[in-house]
């Protein structure tokens, strides 16, 4: 063995613990004298350790196929570049996308929404908004408990529940510095307008009841 320039195979044998005695010592001597060799041996050890501690699990073919076919429609229609909104429009309104509704998730054991309450999750640029809708003691009254999570944003603001049909304000509440808010509305269809420092996030088509 050329102890000054061990091959990667020799380094691999050393990293795997296959070398002993003088052979191992030769490698150790070479590592001491070469940061590059040391780096290469370190990478081999990390790769071995990564495999030895691998705790990953694979999804079933059925699960994978569902993801492939169910969302192929989104991929089939290429996204067209939308015209760049003006700065004023950017500041004014951003429409959030509903990405999760516990009422439509029959597979989630113990998580399905009930008439007494359900969970909604919206995604928007730079973060998301979680909303819990629960029925009050009065069957016609609904409590909306929400939390805004945005990266590096001042989260203080105001949330308004606008009646969907008329656009009139139904209720409003403050948003605290942690992005949390709570308000109550009667049974009906609303848009929530979450007003922050630099934008208004619209949560469309919120139906209570």
């Amino acid at each position: 063995m050329d102890h000054m320039h061990p091959t990667t195979e020799q380094l691999a044998a050393f990293a795997a613990g296959d070398l002993t005695g003088t052979a191992a010592q030769s490698i150790r001597d070479a590592l001491e004298s070469s940061p590059n060799l040391k780096a290469a041996e370190m990478r081999l050890r990390q790769i071995i350790a990564t495999m030895q501690t691998d705790d990953t699990q694979t999804a079933s073919a059925f699960v994978i196929e569902r993801a492939v076919t169910a969302f192929a429609e989104h991929v089939r229609r290429p996204v067209e570049a939308s015209p760049q909104p003006s700065l004023i429009e950017k500041v004014r309104q951003v429409i959030a996308t509903l990405v999760f509704d516990s009422r439509t998730q029959p597979a989630l054991a113990g998580f399905r929404g009930t008439s007494a309450g359900y969970q909604l999750s919206y995604e928007t640029e730079g973060g998301d908004i979680d909303l819990q809708v629960t029925q009050g003691k009065d069957a016609n009254l609904w409590k909306l408990t929400g939390q805004v999570a945005l990266e590096n944003k001042n989260l203080k603001g105001e949330v308004k529940a606008m009646i969907a049909d008329t656009g009139r304000l139904a209720e409003s509440a403050n948003i605290d510095e942690h992005g949390r808010f709570r308000l109550a509305v009667t049974t009906g269809s609303y848009e929530l307008h979450v007003s922050l420092v630099d934008r208004v996030i619209v949560l469309p088509e919120l139906d209570t009841g």
Partner: protein, 216 residues
């Protein structure tokens, strides 16, 4: 290892990759680095290439599915997290600011989706005591994210390696049945005494592929 030592090691590795006279010459560099591969794959998906989308889902299925399972969700709930993450990805592909950060994006999305479920279950359990109180979303520690990214990269590298090397290394390190050398010898038709040297050769090749994929 300190941050500065790690940085030095990475810079040395980048500067000398492939030219160190002490390392085995002539190693096939293989296909394009995974980062570049992902960029091309994402671009193809955005153009509507369904085969590219299938490849993308397959490539990252293990990374995504493992996260809810690690947090204790059953297979059905993990399936829901899986569908949610790829649904979001399909809508956000064209908005990805840095395609090279796709693994981190998926880890974050899967973790967030998992914690929404766990948070709701916790809320159900403690509703009487904490009416309406939201639990902060969990973000995996950076070292865990690095570990999960490395696991993903090594698996990708093994797939690229293919053949006997992939089969041997998976049998030695990834097979939960932990086969003996005798069993591996029979399965792969390798003499028992050759397993060690073959492993070294395969590890050397795997290391090269991992380096090309950005393993750090």
């Amino acid at each position: 290892m300190s941050t500065s030592d790690e940085h030095t090691r990475r810079e040395s590795a980048r500067a000398d990759r492939g030219v160190d006279p002490g390392l085995e010459p002539g190693v096939d560099r293989g296909q394009a680095p995974a980062a570049d591969d992902d960029i091309a794959l994402i671009a193809a998906c955005v153009r509507g290439n369904q085969n590219a989308w299938r490849e993308l889902v397959n490539r990252y299925s293990r990374l995504v599915f493992s996260i809810p399972r690690r947090y204790g969700l059953d297979e059905q709930s993990s399936d829901d997290v899986f569908q949610t993450v790829f649904a979001n990805l399909s809508k956000r592909l064209s908005d990805l600011r840095d395609p090279k950060s796709l693994p981190k994006w998926l880890i974050t999305a899967a973790s967030r989706a998992t914690w929404r479920i766990l948070r709701e279950r916790k809320r159900d359990a403690t509703a009487a005591a904490h009416d309406g109180e939201m639990v902060d979303a969990d973000t995996p520690a950076p070292e865990r994210i690095l570990q999960w990214e490395r696991q993903h990269l090594v698996r990708q590298a093994l797939n690229r390696l293919g053949g006997r090397c992939q089969a041997l290394l998976e049998a030695l390190y990834l097979d939960p049945a932990k086969p003996s050398y005798e069993q591996i010898s029979q399965r792969l038709d390798i003499p028992v005494g050759s397993i060690g040297p073959t492993r070294s050769r395969c590890l050397a090749k795997l290391s090269e592929v991992c380096g090309g994929l950005g393993f750090e």
